[in-house]
Structures are given as C-alpha cells and as structure tokens.
Amino acid sequence: MNKSFLKVVTFVVAISSVIGFSSSSVLSDDLKVALAAEPTSMDPHYQNLTINNSFATQVYNALVLQDVNQKLLPGLAKSWKPIDELTWEFKLRPGVKFHNGAAFTSEDVTATMKRAANVPNSPSSFATFIKGKKFEIVDDLTIRISTKKPNPFIPNDMSRIAIIDSAFVNSTTEDFNTGVASFGTGPFKFSKWLPGDLIEIKRNNAYWGDKVKWDNIIIRPIKDGTTRTAALISGDVDFIERVPPSDLPNLEKRKGISVFKSVSNRSLYLTLHMTDNPRRPYTMDNNDKPIASPFQDVRMRKAVSLAINRQAISDRIMDGLSSPAGQFSPKGYIGYSPNLKPDVYNPKRAKELMAEAGYSDGFKLTIHGPAGRYTNDTRILEAIAQMLSSIGIQTSVETMPASVFFKRFARGGANKTPEFTVAMSGYANGSGEPSHPLRIFIHTKQKKRGYGPGNRNGYSNAEVDKLIEDGRASMDVSKGEKKFIKATEIAMREYALLPIHHVVATWAAREGITYEQGALDSTFLHFIR
C-alpha cells in the first residue's frame, strides 16, 4: 500500500517535470518579473535608492512624473508655474483616489513632505529635496512652494517624492512593509512582500492615468545575471532586466524571446588625480620610486583618453551594450552637448602626448575600481590596463568590494583626502536635473555650499564654477541649460573627468511582451505591455 502510493507520487513528479514549466505560467494576465535587486523597504520615503524609487513609482505617484528620458510630465499636479522668483504654484489633479478610497488633496502633499524628511532610521532620506522649502496650502487643489533663493528645479525635486495618504503620516516603515499603510495613487496596488523572495502587486482599476495590462505582477529578485537569464529561458519568469552582455546574442537568437535595448544615462568614467597631494604610491617611475601624479598635466589626461579603445570595450567586453561617451549625458538627454564627441582611439597620438609631457619612458600605475558594482567593471578595468600598458604605462589593476572602494575613493588617503590616482566609477542622473553632475563632480569642492562632494581629483576652474552657479540661479530652465552645456564643454575638454561609455540598458521577455525603453536603466513595470 505504502509502496504503491510512493510509486504513484514518483510517477506524477516525473511526468509533470517532463511536461515542463513553460506552459504553466501563461494562464491569466499574470506577469512574473525577475529584477537584479530588491527594494530595501516598501516605505517610499525610507531610502533614496534607485531601486526603491523605481518600485515606488508603481504604487505611488509624485506631483510631477518623469518620462523614460526624465522629461517632466504632469502627475498628481496637473500643472505648475513660478509665480515669482521665489515661489512656485502647483495645481493638483482633481478626482484622484488613494487605493484605500481616500480622496487626494493638498493636505496629503504637506503631510507627505513632513513625513518624507523625517523617517526614523532612514539610511538616506529625501530631506535633500524638501529642506529649505515652505509648503503652503492655498486650497484643496492648490499648493505653493517657496524658497529663500531662486530655485528653478523645484518641479524636479517634486518628481522624487511619492505622495501618501495623510492618514498614514505617522505610520512606521514596518507598517509600509507589511501593507498596513501602503496605499498610494499609482497604477498598482501593493499586495505582499516576502523579503528576499518576492513582491506581489495588483492592478489599480481606479487609476487616473492609462491602465496597466497586468492583473498581477510577481517580482522576484535574482541577483546573479546568468541565473536570471536561465530563469527566463526555462520559463520560470516572463520578463527580466539587465541581461548579462555575454548572454545577449544567445537570447536574441532564441525563438520566443524578445530583447529590448536602449542607451541609458548611466555612464562609466575614470577620475585622474590632478594635484600633487601626498598619496599612496600608485604612480611610480620605472625604478619603483613614487612620483607625483603625472595627470596634473592635461596632455597626460588626454593621452590616457586617446589610449582607451572605447569601441573595442563596447564590442569585446560589453557585446555592443555600451556606447562610447564623451560627456555625462547620452544623446537626446537633458544637458547633452552635440559639440562633444567621444575621443577616438589613437595610441600613436597618445604616445606623442606622453613624450611632450616628458613621460616618454613611461611609468608604473595602479588603477582602482569596485568589483561587481557595474556591468563588467573588473573586465573593463583590465582592458584599460592592457591599453595603457601598450602605450608604455605599466598598469596593474586592483579591485575591491564596492563598500571598501567607495570609502577609500572618498577619503582613504592622508587627512581623509581621496586615495586613488586613477579610479573608475559610475554615474546616473537620478533627478533629471541637468546641473546635477556638474554640481557634484565638476564644481570646485566647497563642502558647506554642497558643491563638489564627488569631486575627487581636485579639478577646479573658476569659469566653470561661475557658469554652474549662474545656471542654478536662473528661473528660466532653458537659459540655465545652455550655461550648463557650456560648462560641460569646457570641463570635458580639460578632461576634468574621463567618460568611457554609456551603458546600454537591456531587458528580455517572452514573446508577446513589449517594453518601452528610454534613458533610464531601472525597470518600470507599467511600461511592460
């Protein structure tokens, strides 16, 4: 009796495993998605982190929305305009209801702003976008935001804050994680979260905008790229993001699978140190004696740029999933300058420049970067080392976990100064605000004013600084953007930073599913159709 029962069970298991899985997952309008990372919380105000923010847009809306290229669109605010140098007025969308049925009013906006700036234990709060702003309710559907200094980027800031129902202003992060408080106005309703395993969201049928196609979406975090691809191929999931470049050609050829690509605003760049601050001997002459950074000389920086074969990196390492870069923004994106082209590989010229700068015999160099933080980061570093070695700079590579890298990158040297001579890092503009990279990386370091916190190579140019500051004070956004483009052009020609490429973001799905792609490499589930 027992034995025969076992036999039946084994038989059933065997049969069903042969029939396979791909058939079973296409039942209703359910979608299974595998993402590379998982939000750290369901609380939209807990941490200002890309994955958290992009997930928050599924359940919540901000006053202002961003399209796939980070252009601003009306969201919970129907329209907005500056009414004077220091005040903006936002008209709210009428008739919007939260998932719990509560009506959306200006109350909710002020309550949200209060909460978002003060979430306890937040490892990175949204206060940055809220501090220094005064929120004033004019009527149920009008709100005014005033600042002490002119700020043309208030709509950008407002696109970052997910609006919650004022009833939950005092709710804890835990309440959001468990679903007690997680009611937004977004296209999906939050259903459940099993940390590390899955997130489930359901369609919001009362959504004010275009309704989404899917009844249910189950999101699984699968960190390993190959496993993610395998999950799609085996029919385990319907849609994945961040296809590993090496798997892409195979996926493209595969029947029943579609692949989506677009150049993103995520760029990879090198910082070359340009002061002679005392630092660890990452540059040495051929007799192993430490020398000051040769990259104080702009010719040396240019030489490095010319020695890097960006096309080869794209072809050989990224499998075409990168586009050589000469600036922070990709084409068609805010702040893009048509005058800046990526440097073309020219080792001969690079050697000449080295000779002109007095380094014809070459030297020894150690370059640094994080491991596993960016797509193929270690491989790119290795390729760069190969290329620099071939123009006479004997280069070795040292990679480390991101956590270690960023500490040393920022202040691993003497007196908490940045440590590395040459380091690779990445950047993506999260706010869609064109001055952002300039303020962070290019402007002379002025800690108190919030300028140059990411300026780790000591670049400083008064003209560029002034262009940036002027642009940030101009309420006319298009005028400001021109100043920023100008500043970008000057800085890039001086190789303040050395952009390598823009990453091409990738998604893959089973046939019949489409994804609308833009410059953002995060995945927005409502764009899956």
């Binding site: 892409l248 596993g372 270690t378 491989r379 290795e382 190969q386 040292e398 270690v404």
Partner: protein, 302 residues
C-alpha cells in the same frame, strides 16, 4: 625441532615494513594519483616556461583576442589551443598560471595553519587541564564559525590579494589541525613511552619536541593533503563570490567564475577547462590523501 624454529623466525617480520610501504605506494590507484599530482605540481612550478603566453603580462594580452574558440589563432600568431577568455587571455596559459596561484594559496595557507595548529594542539594535548580547556574553547569558537563565512568576512575586510587569501584561509583552517593534533597527542601522551621519558627527567619541551611531535604528526599529514584540496575549493568559491584573488592574477576559481558569464553564450571553454582542471587537481590530491590515510593507518595494515 629445527623446523619449528625456522617458522618462528619467519613470523617476526623483521625489516619488511619498508617493503610493505613500497608495495602499497605502487598500487595502481596510488600511482595514477601520484602521477597526476606530480604533473600538476610540475606545471605549476614551471608555469612560465610551459605556458605559451604570459597571461599576467598586460602588454601581451589584448581584448581584441577575446573569446576565441579553441584552436583559433591570436593576433600575435600563437594558437590558443583551449581558446581565449573575455579579456583575451589564452585559456591554456591562464590555467597553468591559475593552477600555480591556486596551489600557492592552498599550500601556503595549509602550511601556516598546520604550524599554528600543531603548536596549539601539542600544548593542549600535553598539558591537558585548564590550558587544554582554554585552548580548545578557542578552537571550538573558531570551528563554530563556518569556514566560508569567516573567509568571506575576512576578505571583505582585508581586500583582495593572494597574501590576504592565504591569511584568511590559514585563519579558517588552523583550528582543524589543532583539534586533530590534540586528539592524537592525548592518545600518545597517555602511552607509556611518554611516561618513561618523564621518568627519565626530560623537560616538558623536550618530551613534546622529541616524543610527542613525531608520533602525533602522521594524522596531520593526511589531513593536510585533504585540507589542501579543500582549500583549493574554498579559494575557488571565494573567487566565485567575488572576494578572491585579483582579476589580473587569476586562480582556477576566479577563471571559472569569470568564465561562467559566457557559458550561455556558447563560449563554454572559458569556464569548462579551468573547471576540469580544478576537478582533476582536487580529485588527485584527495585520492592521494586517501591513499596516504590507508598507508599510514596501522589498523588497515593487513
């Protein structure tokens, strides 16, 4: 009567020990594993002569050579018999050099751990009592932390580098040696020759050094071989998790994990051949260790 005596002499097998040992060493399974082991060590020792190219010399390696199939020619004309990897390194050369890195890491960590473990184990086993209790508590604590995790934390903290991997693996392993030595030392310590030695008035350090050490060491030799195989595996796993040796000086483990990114795209050779080599190496060492265990274990000496 004379006949009887003849047999009695035959029974006390004087001088046959070494012959028995020799015969055991010449069993086919032992010979094969020994041969493989020597080949592996030979490859590792003479890596720079045997390997067609130097995969660590970045001037030679070019990404334009990347992902060539086995047998293709590289830009400089050398044939990549086992193909090239994602960075344009010749896989065959990378395996030979990677083997060396793996072995260096495994053996040096084993040696360091063995010395520390031997010292601690002998002291604990010989003195017993509170010293033993104290040392063994430390050992227990060390052993209760899973090796892979401790190594992971250590390496996350120490950073990458062959030396750091060696340190981490040594820290992870010493306790195992200490415990084994202690067990052996306690057995030996209670034997009468140790008592005879202390009866003679020999000092403790002399007894430990001359009597206890030589008799407690044989289980360690077996353990060390098996442990070496194990630490090659651990090192590979650590490299897989991204905290092993630096990418420009790959070990077998990091070659496998780098290569794995390409397996779905069909470039199986980048991960497959290093994997095969790893398997062969670890298996050869394990088989050898097993044989050694049989040889050194008097109980199986029939």
């Amino acid at each position: 009567m004379s006949e009887i005596k003849l047999i009695s002499e035959n029974k006390i097998n004087i001088g046959t020990n070494s012959k028995i040992l020799l015969r055991k060493f010449t069993r086919p399974s032992t010979l094969i594993s020994l041969g493989l082991l020597f080949l592996i060590i030979f490859c590792a020792l003479f890596a720079s002569i045997l390997a067609p190219t130097n995969p660590y010399d970045l001037k030679v390696v070019s990404i334009l050579d990347s992902r060539l199939s086995p047998g293709d020619k590289m830009l400089n004309g050398t044939v990549a018999w086992l193909g090239t990897d994602g960075a344009g390194r010749d896989v065959l050369s990378a395996i030979i050099f990677g083997l060396r890195t793996s072995l260096v890491v495994a053996i040096s960590s084993a040696v360091i751990a063995l010395i520390v473990g031997l010292f601690v184990g002998l002291i604990a086993g010989f003195y017993g009592g509170k010293i033993d209790a104290f040392l063994m508590r430390i050992v227990d604590i060390q052993l209760s932390f899973p090796a892979i995790l401790v190594a992971l934390v250590l390496l996350a903290l120490l950073g990458k580098g062959i030396d750091k991997v060696i340190i981490a693996l040594a820290i992870v392993q010493w306790a195992i040696y200490a415990r084994t030595v202690r067990a052996a030392a306690i057995v030996e310590r209670n034997k009468e020759y140790i008592q005879a030695a202390s009866c003679l008035g020999l000092s403790n350090s002399l007894i430990i050094w001359k009597h206890l050490l030589p008799n407690s060491i044989s289980p360690l030799i077996v353990l060390a071989t098996l442990q070496t195989a194990h630490s090659i595996s651990i090192e590979a796993t650590l490299s897989f998790l991204g905290v092993g040796v630096p990418i420009t000086e790959p070990s077998l483990g990091s070659l496998i994990s780098n290569g794995f990114d390409f397996i779905l795209s069909g470039a199986y050779w980048i991960t497959f051949f290093p994997g095969l080599m790893l398997l062969a190496t670890v298996a050869a060492i394990n088989i050898f260790g097993d044989q050694l265990r049989i040889i050194l274990n008097p109980r199986v000496n029939r």
